[in-house]
């Protein structure tokens, strides 16, 4: 059994790209904010590591931390700026750096995902990551049937967004 530091180092190494991309998609491709958010996820991971019981896999566990940290990040950011959620989302689009948008060929994908509602963004990114619906249900804490219905609807919405891009 590795000690806490070694385990954290391994988890960080293995899941950093996954967490960073989820943060990037959640924040509409804003790389600077995504880096802060990724850091926040791993700080929360370190803090929670001593309580890891092994009831879920590390992957599902880190997804849960990522999802909850993303949702809290938006809450904190808008609380500090005194903006309602919709307004904050608009701010995020307007402050998106042009150079970032032009140099990153995947920016339209992040932008399209960013047009979805917060929870829908996280759901579709887990699908794109190849998570089983059962695992997604476990991360969000909803029924499997509900996950299917939601994802079906999100796919349709995302398809429309991408067609209109």
């Amino acid at each position: 059994m590795p000690n806490k530091e070694t385990l954290f180092e391994n988890l960080h190494k293995e899941y950093h790209p996954m967490v960073h991309q989820l943060c990037l998609g959640f924040l509409k491709g804003d790389n600077s904010l995504a880096q802060d958010l990724t850091q926040e996820v791993f700080i929360n991971t370190w803090a929670a590591l001593k309580n890891f019981k092994g009831a879920a896999s590390y992957k599902t566990w880190i997804y849960r931390i990522t999802v909850n940290t993303c949702l809290k990040f938006i809450r904190d950011a808008k609380k500090n700026q005194h903006l309602p959620l919709d307004e904050w989302n608009k701010t995020l689009v307007n402050t998106e750096p042009k150079s970032n948008s032009e140099s990153n060929p995947y920016q339209p994908l992040y932008r399209a995902i960013g047009q979805l509602k917060e929870v829908d963004r996280l759901l579709i990114m887990m699908v794109l990551d190849g998570l089983e619906y059962g695992e997604i249900a476990e991360v969000i804490g909803i029924q499997l049937g509900n996950v299917r219905v939601k994802i079906h609807r999100i796919k349709k919405t995302l398809k429309n967004i991408l067609q209109n891009e």
Partner: protein
Amino acid sequence: MSDGLSDLKNKWMDAREAQSLQMRSEESQKLVALSAKKLKLSIVEHVKTIVVLVLTCVGITLCFIYITPFKEVLSQIGMWLMQGALVLRIAVELYSIVLSSKIKFTDAAVKSNNMALRFYQFRKKVHGLFTLLVVLVYSLGFYLLTPEFLKYLDGTQVLLIDLSYLVGAVIFTFFIRLAIKKEMMVLDDLKALNDQMGEG
């Protein structure tokens, strides 16, 4: 759509590959250090209100015992009302910490959101009628000290003390209103997220 989705999945994985190459991965040791720092800050954030309240409570108790030992029954009632209001406020802050500690990042999103919702609903109650009641009881206690003050100080001094207390109470109310506004915004968002997670 399944073809569309597999295209999207491929693009998503390509994007990960591309960003992994240019990504600056922080050292895990740096994150561990940051985590310890953040934990300390979060403890300070949690206990600072309690520390201020406890210090105020201890301060006025010492003041009542050693500096201005009130003799009259009315003043004694005033003293108890002030201390009681502070103790009640401390108890509520402590319960608030218990509730906030139940919001866990490792829970499923719905559960974590529900715990946060519970916490902010409690804060809403605390910042509403309860705080108003505590301020009123504390203020009543304070003004009950006035008759005995008048025995030792002249009228102008007592008037200045009473007026400055009033100014303090107004400023306090202003900050409470700001806090309520912020927390109500969070509460609305949590409800919206709950709806998003629940809807099919």
